[in-house]
Structures are given as structure tokens and as C-alpha cells.
């Protein structure tokens, strides 16, 4: 019988610790599949960050390092500068990347550092149990925005792709979602493209993935999917902001 579905080789057989309905697991799988498809498992180095995905170094069956909160792009820079033949990617949440690690991500992008960033936007701090993130939507209730995020108190949510798109350095920027099978397929394609951009030596690539955190949104997994469609996507429009490889092909 033909095998139509199996565990990606680039995932270990460790069981994920994620909550039911959390999208981190899906996103891990997509990253691993992309690594398998591109046959780069033996030369990939994963940089895990701080957040619910802190254990991703246990899940990816590649060499891996765990970075301090927000510092993954700097750590990846150090690795890539020594090992330019390796494929280096970071896996970061929104608190990690868009709050404490804002300087590191902006400057890695501005340098056009030849790394790939998988940026998981779930509009909340997951691991520390639901505080406001830089990506928390206006009106969204969290443990530190109990009245809903009010811009006069807490400022506005940050659109990371749009922000980075003002820079010359990035070679690939895309925002995707994994809330239904069609979007999962698109997300997979984007992740693979981002790695291809790195393999072509074109510079910084980032894929922002909208992701559910049913636990801290206090929604059921299905309600969380609706929330992504109704609330997140309107503020965080999906699409490709930049792909230097495509620009080349068109020209």
C-alpha cells in the first residue's frame, strides 16, 4: 500500500507539549516538511526562542540551539557568519520577536542577514499565560489588558511584515495563516520559498504565521479559528510583501 501521509523526517518522535487546538504543532510540521522537501536536514541549524515553542529544539531533528528571549536573530547571525553553507532558521513568537527582540529582528532584516525567520503571531504571550503582546488587537482582553487593549494606555498592535517591508534588507516577507487546509497549503509554500531564498543566498526571509492560542484566548479550538478569520486577518492581511526570487523571474 502506498504511503500517502507520514511524519516528516525532520521531526523527532518527541510528543508536542502544545495545548489542544494550538497551531504551533501544525507550523512545526510545515517547517519540517519544507526541510525534507528541500533535502537540507543535514545542514540545517534551528534556533529556538523563548515562549511556548521553547522546546522546539527537541522537536526538529536538526542541529539546534536555544536562544535567550528575543535574541534568536542575533544568535542565528553568529551561526550563519561562521557556517554560511548551513541553513539557519529561527522560530519565534510575537512577544519574543516584536517586543523584547525588536532591535534584533529589525537589524537582522536591515543587514539582509541570510537567515529564515518563522514568526508565530498568536496575539498574546502564551507561555507566561496570556499577557498582552505587541500584536494584541485593540479591544482584546488579556491578563494585562483586562479592559481590552486601549491604545491610549497600551499603544497600537505592530504589523511586523509591513514594518520590515520598509527596509531594503529583506528578500522575502510573507504573512500566512493555518486556520484551514487551503491556508495550510499556502503557508507551507511560503515557508519553503523562504528557505529557497536563503539557499539562493538572497538574504533575510521571514514568514509570519497567524496562529491560534485557544488557551489564552479562552475560546474553543473551533472558536479560535473563527477569531483568526474575523478578527486577526482584517488587521493582519495575508499575502506576500516581498520575494526577490519572483521579481527576478518576472523581469
Amino acid at each position: 500500500m502506498a504511503v500517502v501521509f507520514e511524519r516528516p523526517r525532520s521531526l523527532t518522535d518527541q510528543r508536542f507539549r502544545y495545548c489542544p487546538g494550538c497551531h504551533h504543532g501544525i507550523i512545526h510540521r510545515l517547517v519540517a516538511e519544507a526541510i525534507d522537501d528541500l533535502e537540507i536536514q543535514d545542514r540545517t541549524i534551528a534556533v529556538a526562542s523563548v515562549g511556548c515553542s521553547v522546546f522546539s529544539y527537541e522537536y526538529f531533528d536538526t542541529d539546534a540551539i536555544q536562544a535567550a528571549h528575543g535574541r534568536a536573530p542575533a544568535v542565528a547571525t553568529g551561526i550563519k557568519r561562521v557556517e554560511p553553507e548551513c541553513v539557519v532558521f529561527t522560530y519565534q513568537g510575537d512577544g519574543d520577536l516584536a517586543a523584547i527582540g525588536t532591535a534584533e529582528i529589525v537589524h537582522a532584516a536591515a543587514r539582509g542577514e541570510n537567515i529564515t525567520v518563522i514568526f508565530v503571531n498568536n496575539a498574546v504571550y502564551g507561555m507566561t499565560s496570556g499577557q498582552m503582546a505587541p500584536t494584541t488587537l485593540i479591544g482584546q482582553v488579556t491578563t494585562t489588558s483586562p479592559d481590552g487593549r486601549i491604545p491610549s494606555r497600551a499603544g497600537y498592535p505592530i504589523r511586523v511584515c509591513e514594518l520590515l517591508n520598509t527596509l531594503e534588507g529583506p528578500a522575502y516577507l510573507a504573512r500566512v495563516s493555518v486556520h484551514d487546509p487551503r491556508h495550510v497549503r499556502e503557508a507551507k509554500k511560503a515557508i519553503k520559498e523562504a528557505f529557497q531564498v536563503q539557499l539562493a543566498g538572497k538574504g533575510f526571509s521571514l514568514v509570519e504565521v497567524l496562529s491560534a492560542c485557544p488557551t489564552n484566548w479562552h475560546l474553543s479550538p473551533l472558536e479560535a479559528i473563527e477569531w483568526i478569520k474575523e478578527k486577526m486577518i482584517p488587521y493582519y492581511p495575508l499575502g506576500k510583501f516581498k520575494n526577490v526570487l519572483e521579481v527576478k523571474e518576472d523581469a
Binding site: Q41, D42, R43, T44, I45, V47, A48, V54, F55, Y57, E58, D61, T62, D63, A64, I65, Q66, A67, A68, R71, A74, V75, A76, T77, G78, I79, K80, R81, V82, E83, E85, C86, V87, A103, E104, V106, H107
Partner: protein, 355 residues
Amino acid sequence: MNKVLMKGNEAIGEAAIAAGCRYFFGYPITPQSELPEFLSRRLPQVGGVFLQAESEVAAINMVYGAASTGARVMTSSSSPGISLKQEGISYLAASELPCVIVNIMRAGPGLGGIQPSQSDYFQATRGGGHGDYRTIVLAPASVQEIVDLVIEGFELADRYRLPVMILGDGNLGQMMEPVQMDRTAKGRLPAKPWALTGKKGRPRNIINSLNLDPEKLEMHNRKLERRYQEIKERETKAESYLTDDAEIVVAAYGIVARVSKAAVDRARAEGIKAGLFRPITLWPFPEKELNEATARARNVLTVEMSLGQMVEDVKLALNGRLPAAFYGRVGGVVPTVSGVFEEIQKINQNSGKVK
């Protein structure tokens, strides 16, 4: 080989290259900026990488990444910048990654001033960042010794898998002295089977400092501690000058040791039996060597460009055996020969009276 005239900061850079270091990540700060400037010219010439990071936080995390691949890597800064690097230094120590970190100290706290100081002694020798850890701390007193200790620093870092700090003050970074630059690291880099290089057929390597299981984390802490003990037993280093018959021993490191040496000479000329003890490793502190150097002494005087930091280690090492006096200048003021000499004189007069 001929001697060349070099500035302390530049000698650090050239010595690092001689030690096989090809990667430097830094951020400008006075009085160490000549070092990154020098390496931005030199490293590309030898096929290396110089990268000016966006902050000290980023620089030390780039070091963490580069060190994880097994490469010899260095960063440098001065006091306020080292404070920012402490996060990364704690991670490097926890993950057992070798690297060399240079601190050319200036006066603090806060933004302080840009003049030389030794007031980061506590931060350097007590770990400095969060958690139970130590780094080896080497304190050169001349531009030639900078070269030797930077090369040795890389070797120690690799041998014990930990960050090594070169602790100098602004004077040392700025002054020019003749140096012999023909030294190179002993042999090749040790094998680093733990390094991240891409799996290439072997089982994956993981560099990590997270351990949520308290028993396992305690085991890791104990393992690090055993290594620190081994370093304490093997790697202490100090220099003694005229201590064989000394009644008053001055303890000082770095540039202050040179000032103190001149004061000791002056005391000898005045008939006072003074000597100098100069720790070269600040961690591990050369306790045994200090006790040997003070075997005949009646008093120890610690001189520092701080309000009294190393003096605590001196007291711990003496363990009450001898009275320990302290003389310090701060804020960027360098102790003078006559200032130190007067302190020696005072102790000499007092110890003559008391009894």
C-alpha cells in the same frame, strides 16, 4: 623577531588573530573602540568576519551563536556595555560555550566617565549575570602581557568550555608599548564534537540552557562547579616582587600594580621592607600564592581603582591571618606613586607603634 610599538587595544586584536580567532562582534564604546576599529580592518585580511552589532546585547548573542559552531570568537566592550552583555554571558556559561570577552573598564556606576577604573571587579569575578557560574578572569598589566593572556585566554576557554574575560582598565587599552607579536596559539583547536555544524549524518547536537527538572538542573550546576574547582586548583596565576622578606605587601592588579611597584621601590629606598603581589588571574583568585607572598609580612595593603572590591578576595585568602588595609581612588582617578607610598609609610609607622 623585532618588537613593534602597539596600542593596548590594538594588541588585543592582533593577539586574537594570532590565537586563531576569526570572528568578532562588537559595539563601540570608549575607551575600547580602537579594538573593533582595528579588527574591522584586520579580520577581512585574514578571511575573518567583523560585524558591528546594533547593541551589546546583540553582539554577545552573536558570539553565543558563533561559539556554538566551535569557532574561536571574541567580543569587547567597556563597563556599561559589559552590563548589557551579562545576559549572554550567563547563557554562554550555562551552555558551556568558549569565547573571549574583553572589558576595558571605565569609571561608573551608570554612564560614569570614560577615564580608567577597576570598579567592575565584582561583576567580572562573581559571574556577573544571573545564576551560579564563573568565568575565568585574566588581568594583564602591560601591552606585552595583553598579547600573552589573550592567546592563553582562548586556550583556557576551549579547554574548560567557558567564557574567559580579559579585564583591563582604560589606561591599558590606550597606552602604547613595544610588544613582540610572534606568538601563536599552541597547536590546533581541540576537537569540538558538540559543535553545531549541521548534522551531516551524525545524531543531532543541541546547545541549550533550559532544564525544567530541578534534579537535572542541579546535576548540571554541580558539573559546572566541579569544573570551576578544577580551574581553581590548576589555573591560578600571580607575580610576586620583593616579597621574600617583605613586611608590608601591596596587593594590586593591572595598571595599579605598576604604580604600586614604583611605590614599593621607593619604600625600599627609604628602608621599608615592602613587596608587591600582583594577581594575574582574578578568578580564580591566587589564594595560595598570596599566602606564600605574605609569609613574612605583618601587613597587606590592597590598592585598587575602586572603593574596595579585590580587597574582599584578599581578606578571604588571608582568612584573618594578617591585617588588611585598603587604599583606593575612584571616578577615573589613577593612584599615584606617592599616594601609594604614603599609604605604605602610614602602615609602617602604625605597625611600628602598635604591638
